[in-house]
């Protein structure tokens, strides 16, 4: 088990290294892309361009630039933004992390609770009216564009129903948890619900299928033969097994969201999280910030992947030798 875990973390490190090289190549080695031209602005004369190139170290060979950037990012931890000179990358990421974590953790709690309840209900109410209804909610969830849903929520809470039903909704933005927990929750409520709606349906659909399968398994028949109550069979036997794929999917989704996949929700609700930081940096081609946030994102995704694999291996010994 330990050997498997070590091996898994080793390959996770390799993947992260590959991602950092990939990002570096996308931005520095794509033909026709010149970060110096972006920094110097439009119609800059060749002398300015050369000066910019030199002052940002863009005239050095590619591998040296990669290593220098990594050294500043990981060892000296003083990598600076290209666009706002003097502003360091790591503090920016550290500042954005709690915003993204607030959003994702809250939403995850909501969608896991709703998804598990809906999925179990649909599986037990199979063949009755509630089942297709719950599954319809699931289809709607996966079909809505995240940012559009956020816009509509803003429209309803800030304008159309703001004078009546939603007068208590604060304007979009972020208030720190330490600053004012009540306001924090109030500001995060609709972003949470919006993000959760997109995921609850997928989880409910997946869980429903798993529970239906599990209820046909031999061990459930055995449990029934032992005379256990249906409720106990559902919760202790069927649901327990069915949750394994849910948990592994959750690991991946959670990692991706913390890593910046919640970008659209952050942009729409004006939350200065990791996704927003990455997007702003991309628009300015602010490479050091992009490098920092992308590596940060990859770190969470890769970590989640590795944890899920190890969890799987713990639960199912066959996976260790695959």
């Amino acid at each position: 088990m330990l050997a498997f875990a070590l091996k898994r973390f080793g390959s996770a490190l390799l993947v992260m290294f590959a991602i950092s090289v990939l990002v570096f190549l996308i931005f520095f080695a794509t033909p026709g892309v010149d970060p110096a031209a972006r920094i110097a602005g439009r119609n800059a004369d060749p002398a300015t361009l050369a000066q910019v190139r030199h002052s940002f170290g863009l005239d050095r060979p590619m591998p040296v630039r990669y290593l220098l950037m990594m050294r500043h990012l990981l060892i000296d931890r003083d990598l600076e933004s290209f666009v706002n000179r003097g502003s360091r990358v790591i503090p920016q990421i550290l500042q954005a992390t709690p915003v993204t974590l607030s959003l994702v953790v809250g939403a995850a709690l909501i969608w896991m609770t709703a998804g598990i309840l809906m999925g179990t209900a649909a599986a037990t109410l199979r063949g009755r009216a509630a089942d297709p209804l719950i599954m319809l909610v699931g289809v709607v969830g996966v079909s809505l564009p995240a940012y559009w849903l956020g816009e509509v929520v803003n429209l309803l809470t800030q304008k159309q129903l703001h004078d009546s039903l939603f007068s208590w909704v604060p304007p979009p933005g972020y208030v720190g948890l330490g600053q004012d927990p009540g306001q924090w929750a109030l500001h995060m409520l609709f972003p949470w619900l919006t993000l959760a709606l997109l995921y609850a349906g997928i989880y409910a659909r997946l869980l429903r299928g798993e529970v239906v399968t599990a209820l046909n398994e031999d061990y459930v028949r055995t449990a029934r033969a032992k005379g256990l109550s249906e409720r106990r069979i559902l919760i202790r036997h069927a649901l327990r097994c069915s949750l394994i794929p849910i948990v592994s999917l959750f690991g991946l989704d959670f990692g991706a969201l913390v890593g910046g996949a919640a970008l659209l929700t952050e942009v729409v609700f004006g939350l200065p999280g990791i996704g927003k930081l990455t997007f702003d940096a991309l628009q300015n081609l602010d490479l050091p910030v992009i490098m920092g946030t992308v590596l940060y994102a990859a770190f969470f995704v890769v970590l989640a992947n590795a944890l899920v694999d190890i969890l799987y291996a713990r639960l199912d010994p066959r996976a260790r030798h695959a």
């Binding site: 991602i19 892309v33 079909s143 564009p145 803003n154 429209l155 429903r208 910046g260 995704v301």
Partner: protein, 338 residues
């Protein structure tokens, strides 16, 4: 279902016909197909609507244009009276198909006509990207799974790296870079403003979604007796791939097409919304939502209508995709219920 009494006399209808029959009996899948057909037809008729009903060019701004509402001539854009008086308020929905049915955007362009044209772009990108992903994913998955060894190891690691990248971030990274100069890949050149750019980007980022499961499937297939028999009888590898492996994995790849189209459409709209997808003068449902952003509180129709169309289309694709999966892969239905 009736049991055939003269079994043996009747030939089995074959997997494709069985699947088609299953699909035709699936009412929600049929309804979704009808919805999709309607959407496609409507977007195909976009020029008819713009030229013969609305009499407008949805790609030209009509800043000082006028239109007719209730027999009165009114300007399409009104300078806003509130605030600094800097902005303009376009005309809202008139519900008159000939005169700004859904109102105008802030350049005075007919939103309804733009929606129809935008739908063409969104559907084109979604479907082409999905098809391309499925073809590429199948090719990569089959090659990796069948070849094994070093080639498989390299391909699998590359797929791992793409997989570990949050898809939207990867798509945005590629878009930002490629939008400045276009794509030059050997003899292949794609201009920065071309619709093929988002198609290529979206197709590329989702390849692991297809290639990984198919590789797994091929790994299992390779050890089956009939493949071993084909290898043993000296059949050349291309022939084995074509005659023995592909027929087994193509249904799986086909199952992904509608679901992938939905995913690709959502991705395209998100990229366009962030202004790194479809570039003006082209419009897509995503760019129209972005256009409507500044008008959200005054003219919400500009934002709401394209979003509803995206949701309707992707929901129909998802339901149809589930139907196709049930029809082509009865095992999935057994495992998944219904």
């Amino acid at each position: 279902m009736t049991l055939a009494p003269s079994a043996g006399a009747r030939r089995s209808p074959g997997p494709w016909r069985t699947a088609a029959g299953d699909l035709l009996r699936n009412r929600s899948a049929l309804a979704s197909a009808a919805v999709l057909l309607l959407v496609v037809l409507a977007t195909v008729c976009a020029p008819l609507y713009a030229d013969h009903i609305a009499h407008t060019d949805p790609f030209q701004s009509h800043v000082s244009g006028t239109t007719v509402v209730d027999g009165k001539t009114v300007p399409v854009l009104t300078p806003s009276s509130t605030g600094l008086g800097l902005g303009v308020t376009p005309i809202g929905p008139t519900w008159d198909p000939a005169h700004y049915f859904l109102g105008a955007d802030n350049q005075g362009r007919d939103v309804m006509a733009r929606l129809l044209y935008g739908g063409r772009t969104s559907l084109f990108i979604g479907f082409t990207a999905a098809l391309l992903t499925c073809v590429l994913g199948t090719a990569v998955g089959v090659v990796a799974g069948y070849a094994g060894g070093v080639l498989d190891a390299v391909i699998s690691r590359v797929l791992d790296v793409i997989w570990a990248f949050p898809v939207y971030l990867l798509a945005i990274c590629l878009s930002v870079v490629l939008l400045t100069n276009g794509l030059k890949l050997g003899p292949l050149t794609v201009d920065a403003g071309s619709l093929w750019l988002p198609v290529a980007i979206i197709a590329a980022i989702y390849v692991p979604y297809i290639a990984r499961p198919l590789r797994g499937q091929v790994l299992v297939l390779r050890n089956k007796e009939y493949i071993q028999a084909a290898v043993g009888s000296g059949a050349p590898t291309p022939r084995i791939l074509r005659r023995e492996v592909l027929p087994n994995v193509v249904p799986t790849a086909l199952v992904f097409v509608p679901l992938m189209t939905a995913l690709a459409m959502l991705t395209e709209s998100a990229l366009s919304f962030l202004s790194v997808g479809v570039q003006p003068p082209d419009a897509s449902w995503g760019t129209i939502i972005e256009d409507g952003l500044g008008l959200l509180y005054t003219r919400p129709a500009v934002t709401i209508a394209p979003g509803l169309l995206i949701a309707l289309t992707t929901a129909a694709l998802n339901v149809l995709g589930d139907g196709v999966r049930d029809a082509l892969d009865p095992g999935a239905r057994l495992r998944g219920g219904v």
